[in-house]
Symmetry: C3
Subunit: 667 residues, 3 copies
Amino acid sequence: MLKKLYHGAAFYPELWDGEVVRRDIRLMAETGVNVVRIGEFLWSTIEPAEGQIDVTPLADVIGRLHAAGIDTILCTPTATPPIWYSHGHPERLFVNAEGMALGHGSRQHACTNHPVFREKAAIIIERLARELGRLPGVIGWQLDNEFKAHVSECMCAECRRLWHAWLEKRYGTVDRLNELWGTRVWSESYNAFDQVPQPGPTPFLHNASLQTMYRLFSMEKIAEFADEKAAIIRRYSDAPITHNSSVAFHLDNERLFRHLDFASLDTYASSAHYAAYLLNCDLFRNFKPGRPFWIMETSPSHAGSIASSGVPHPNGYLAAEAVAAYALGAEGFCYWLWRQQRAGSEQPHGAVVSAWGQPGIGYRNVLQAERARQAIEPHIIATRPAQAQVAITYSDKAKAFLATESHGKLRHRGLVSGAYERVLRTGMHRDLVPEGTSLEGYKLLWTPFVPHLSSDLIERSLAFVENGGIWIVGPLTSIRTEEHTVPTDAGLGGLEPFAGAETVFTYAMDGTGTLGEAFGMKAPLSLWSTVFEVSEAISMGNLSGGPSPGLSFLTEVKRGKGKLVLLGSMPAGDDGNEMLERMLIHYGNEANVTRRADTTKGTIVAPRVSETEELWVIVNMNGEGGSVTLPHEGTDKISGAIVSAGKLEVGPYEYRVIAFPAAASLQ
Amino acid sequence: MLKKLYHGAAFYPELWDGEVVRRDIRLMAETGVNVVRIGEFLWSTIEPAEGQIDVTPLADVIGRLHAAGIDTILCTPTATPPIWYSHGHPERLFVNAEGMALGHGSRQHACTNHPVFREKAAIIIERLARELGRLPGVIGWQLDNEFKAHVSECMCAECRRLWHAWLEKRYGTVDRLNELWGTRVWSESYNAFDQVPQPGPTPFLHNASLQTMYRLFSMEKIAEFADEKAAIIRRYSDAPITHNSSVAFHLDNERLFRHLDFASLDTYASSAHYAAYLLNCDLFRNFKPGRPFWIMETSPSHAGSIASSGVPHPNGYLAAEAVAAYALGAEGFCYWLWRQQRAGSEQPHGAVVSAWGQPGIGYRNVLQAERARQAIEPHIIATRPAQAQVAITYSDKAKAFLATESHGKLRHRGLVSGAYERVLRTGMHRDLVPEGTSLEGYKLLWTPFVPHLSSDLIERSLAFVENGGIWIVGPLTSIRTEEHTVPTDAGLGGLEPFAGAETVFTYAMDGTGTLGEAFGMKAPLSLWSTVFEVSEAISMGNLSGGPSPGLSFLTEVKRGKGKLVLLGSMPAGDDGNEMLERMLIHYGNEANVTRRADTTKGTIVAPRVSETEELWVIVNMNGEGGSVTLPHEGTDKISGAIVSAGKLEVGPYEYRVIAFPAAASLQ
Amino acid sequence: MLKKLYHGAAFYPELWDGEVVRRDIRLMAETGVNVVRIGEFLWSTIEPAEGQIDVTPLADVIGRLHAAGIDTILCTPTATPPIWYSHGHPERLFVNAEGMALGHGSRQHACTNHPVFREKAAIIIERLARELGRLPGVIGWQLDNEFKAHVSECMCAECRRLWHAWLEKRYGTVDRLNELWGTRVWSESYNAFDQVPQPGPTPFLHNASLQTMYRLFSMEKIAEFADEKAAIIRRYSDAPITHNSSVAFHLDNERLFRHLDFASLDTYASSAHYAAYLLNCDLFRNFKPGRPFWIMETSPSHAGSIASSGVPHPNGYLAAEAVAAYALGAEGFCYWLWRQQRAGSEQPHGAVVSAWGQPGIGYRNVLQAERARQAIEPHIIATRPAQAQVAITYSDKAKAFLATESHGKLRHRGLVSGAYERVLRTGMHRDLVPEGTSLEGYKLLWTPFVPHLSSDLIERSLAFVENGGIWIVGPLTSIRTEEHTVPTDAGLGGLEPFAGAETVFTYAMDGTGTLGEAFGMKAPLSLWSTVFEVSEAISMGNLSGGPSPGLSFLTEVKRGKGKLVLLGSMPAGDDGNEMLERMLIHYGNEANVTRRADTTKGTIVAPRVSETEELWVIVNMNGEGGSVTLPHEGTDKISGAIVSAGKLEVGPYEYRVIAFPAAASLQ
């Protein structure tokens, strides 16, 4: 399916004169750039006054790029509506949680739910699609830019109206809303949907259900906006559609990508946070299973703006990133941006070339990444990412629940990253899977930090267990209902009947001196926790110290051919990390997880397969070099040399592509 | 006067179905709960639409509780007006210092000074009082809930109008206001009362007098609201009325309780801050002298909300709290809350039973507290708290002054807690006394952190001195006039003529390297300080280093049979604490303070007396165990055993009740 | 030109009754106060109702002061308009960046650009000037008080209108604005000037050009206000006009003082920051070259307010400050304030006498300063500050650029202070010079932290180089165009053609591990940096480590008789400071800088000259004492003793006045 590997950059021909654009296209071709992304902020260029639309300059640039062998991802420019849209129309602006309307001059200042915005966006998108959608070289579309990166939930009057309609659709009657949200708690009770406030300023806390539902409403609305706009494009263009997203934005990525054609992401993790980079690859691969994803934006050197300053990548890191991405399922690896901004607020941001047209600090690394791309391309397109046997549930809905119920300190991203890093360290190949992902092919499933488990997810996961899988649930999972309330039947609600254990207590372990004992070691426990008394299950981890010593924080019970494991608390610190890794290896072994590589820290294996062979793309990501143990003799696909089984050394940021015959034992 | 000890919990029958309520009442009775508090947030349940009032469900619950042997404290529900009150009425909302109206969905969003609010509150309170006020089992009333816990001064238009009226009443003419506030300083001068702003946003600082007066205005208004509502209840009910208050709220507690019948408080101090818990007991006992107070809310285990997370008490601490409270003058000890909230924003808060009806993490501690209550009850009701000989002045007006004049760092609560802990450590039994408290019975009075001393307080305290008392004044006391200005007659204003010393300089000691030398030791001095030159007085503590070495920070002068002591500066750090404790013991000895127990740190003695005996209730509060030196042979009232004079060991969180014959020597 | 040295205090006769005023004048005269500043906040006293103006009380006070031998600096009271100005007129108020109008009750709440404000200010100023401007004793005027100390850019509707007019004047057409600001970046493009927003709240960052231009607009407008008001005064008074300014305020001081008559400043640096104090002297001397400046406000002991608390000066420091100021070019040294405020928000601020009329904690130091003033006066008035050979460029426009482009951490004041301290440590006498200052007389010029170099400054500085000067440029200098964009011709724009080096890369060095090697040592490099490849120039400092090792951060090239030196990066930490000092000494020697004293740290030499002799005023500023090496035998002007060449010891805060014959070698 994959035909080539794309190496690209964001390009803003509208910002530079024709001669600069011509030189840039020439230099791009020399550099090895084979795709550019254009158009995501140029609305005012093609519609300088309301209704005066002319997209022909874009057609011209696309044609010239195509002539130079460079394809185009075309963006809809709706992140930055022109001044004619907002001037004199405060009612069209995004309103933040303090009730402040945010104005023109930056990005995302328009409320994307306002009907006039929807209409104006539709008009400009239709023109772009109709006139440019079938041009040679246009290989894809990107909707807007980084939805909800700078803003979260809008509090404008139009959103209030839509919120009330959304509530009515969800609950039918306001009495049902009152009952499900428990609004009698503080006499919040509503007599009509139009009385339900947006979660604006109050003296103390808003109802948890209201807060979480407003987040879900907002997530649904932005996805609906994407759906609407994608539908317009499809009327005129066959090129696949994506959005450049991120786990950092206020989005439900699973929902967003449901009706889009491929997944893509922006990432500016520094080299010190290479695990965050890998997490993105292991997650975005799974939003559109079987379909390559794109790194749509990453810096060739450093992020930066007039209000921030990033650290340039160490030399060599960029190529390691590129190889890791391609090996883990990316089709494209693109920079933001080609030419340094000469104006605006991102002047200091790293670029491939400077504002005066000379190679930037990252340029040599871009060339190195291009050489790597060329070297691995035949091997990547001849294979596909191997099926992981380990899955970690990823849920942006869970992120919404934890944003509401943070206990003052819980950050979804940090929690999920911590869990991911534990799996990464075991060397087991892994997927981060959205809630709705099929569990076919997996052997071990971990579902941490998902306060509400949908009945569908419980049902499918239990079926996975019945069929031999091991499902580890927790911490902080299944402790809340769909409406963000506490279950009143049992601590873990609908899951508990299957657990062979009873939730006895729930409380935060921090500061209580409680230790967990499991897998031959002790570690402090942390976070809001669920404490169990086992019945049918057995305890795999007991509490010592604290207010409930002797009870269990880790239980397992056989169900069918598999096991259901409850992890009620979060082991903390270095010992906690070690304990979690032991737990993962223990259950990985029990589940017969075979796709696992023995590497030193900072070196990864991205396994790929074809009908005939299995490929290990080995990359050192931490710049310290390391080694990997090859299970068999293999072939270095780039040098052609035979490589013996056993320890293979890799230098700082070095990559290797080693092939083995397709081996059933690794599947 | 005390007939029984109450052990209770907040109960929300309106949130659960009838079957759950029935089961809860049964379980309460088994657990030993003999009182519940109901109704404080249920306005929307009994008046779902404006004017449609039905309080009969409450009558039914009260009846069923009574049948089960459980009494009721009935609350007025005014902290959470229903949606019909605020929807479409932004003018009725609380407005914060930034001018932002705070909306429905949480608590305290109504401006309690709005005439419509006063009217609607009167209607619902009258109905509750009329229909329920004489029901069997109703033993008390609580007005509203935690006044001014989440909000401080309201800035709404109605409050502006009332502010102007309050100013006119206080000052008569605007010229007088101008003169007393010194408004010429920055051309603030007003030509009419209605020009005087509320202390909203300004480029720099508001006039100190304006700020402090607005705080006092606000404190007066909320007390007036309480008075009004209490008057309504009294027309229909004889049950005594309280409010669940705290030193943390924006209130003048002395004023608030003036027209209420008994004092009560909410406290969520963690076990590490047991001294804060004891401070509450030693203070709230004195808002209504001779009348027991209530701990109206405390957690059976931990506080918590969706935005915060508390640490559960160590096992054993809860019973220690209960015993300490009863011994120090409490009649009731009540939990928030009986059953964990299933919805809203306080889902993680500790409760006696979980949302699914099982014993919570604190349940065993509740049972232990109940056993303790039963064990001590006969001994507590046979005695009364012993008269303390040491008093510390407590003033919420002073809190208002220091909120205005914080010097960027002064926190009234922390300062007062520090002073209290010094007295606690000496083992002297003590009262924290509101400004207006009679000084009858005391021997040593310490008045720290009261920037303005009223002439009444000066007069009564000097009379106390004349009669043999020792009065320690400062730090930060008597440095400002009633109008929050600097005295222009002398540094300490009206007090200085009696001091036998002259205020030479005032400045902040921090960072100057100044040491204080007193009681055979040196300690660094801190905070805004008053430096003295003695005349008639003698210096008990001299400065070394800094810009004014050789002068005095601690003076004493004989007046009548007693002494007036000025403490001009705050000794800091461990040495400073030691110096303050030496000072207190020194003057305690001079004043012949005999009611003092020799205990290890973390173990306290609460002395109680009857006509025939003196009781020492000894409690270990820090969980480390300790000992107390018994001055005489005594009787263990619980075991009946004789206990020798000398050292008595107590285990972690252990309590003992030791009786001695009534001994004049301890009075 | 200098006839006497003034020693003064701010005086508020309007706040005290006549008897207090009379006593204060008497005590001032005794204390040695020979000038007071009056009137800057008394608008409401002289115009209590709109149009009812009576300034005669001021005339009376001025007369009485004059009779006591005390001169007067008369202030215009526009920082605090009376209540009649703002009450009922929210449209006249200052509006902050969040869109919040700031109200009456403090200072600077009026928008100084509002036409009604301009009119009312003109009326009161004219009356003051007309009636008091020629009174005996009136020796100067101060406009307003601390412009833009508490507020920065106003966002009111009137300012919006003026902003649009200012833009139109600056750019002519909106197309030109769009082009120069690069507004196509995020579709910001404007179709008319009246669409250009003020930099209010947006979801992400505003365009850099818009932000910087709004700052420059605001700086221009407040200077225009000063110009207008000075013009009125000049119609009636010959006394020179100043404003009490500071580098901490949101002002362009060079522009502000352009049409004023002398420079003055307020400073409250603590003794620990004596270098900040000296920086002020070395800068403000140069706003009106050849004309003495004034320290218009400094505390006799400590700063303070109800919201802050300062540390009193160590005894002795005040006289050191006074001597340093006079020696470095001050004519006046004045305290804020004479008598402690009895009311308002600055009650705790240090004053010469207390609110109750007694000497304050600083009083003895004031007397010591007065003795010093008398001792040095004849020697100061017989000489003038020596011409410095070293200049550091100071630019408040650069401050505006860095406020816009802070990279999240850059603070202009801290950066400039750091640079200044490096020069101070070398012992070279120095000027901080505004951008437009003539370079006549200098040998070494350092221009750090000026993102945009005007073509005029480049031209004049290159001419300075041609004539033999050495010009060190950077760090962070010449990296932006006049419109706050990135140059597109070369990294350093118009300067680069003269540099003999090419800007290869720009990036932030922090966190990259890059070291700079120069002058025989290594130091870590920091901040946004410019990396060079030399052509004609030679590299004086190379990079090691990081992403661009081997390139240059420090280049020099001969131009005419001098050298152009580029410093592309900021050496950091102790090693960085040492490296910078070595660089300065190296180029100081090359440039033949002879005016340099060899002192221990914390001891300074302020050189002064006359036709016949050269004076070294030596002051120990750090309270630790120290020494200075005298190049020749000299005369102690105070004792008359002969002092040998070589090491001269000075005690803590001691000062000496040593005269040498006028020595060409030092010129």
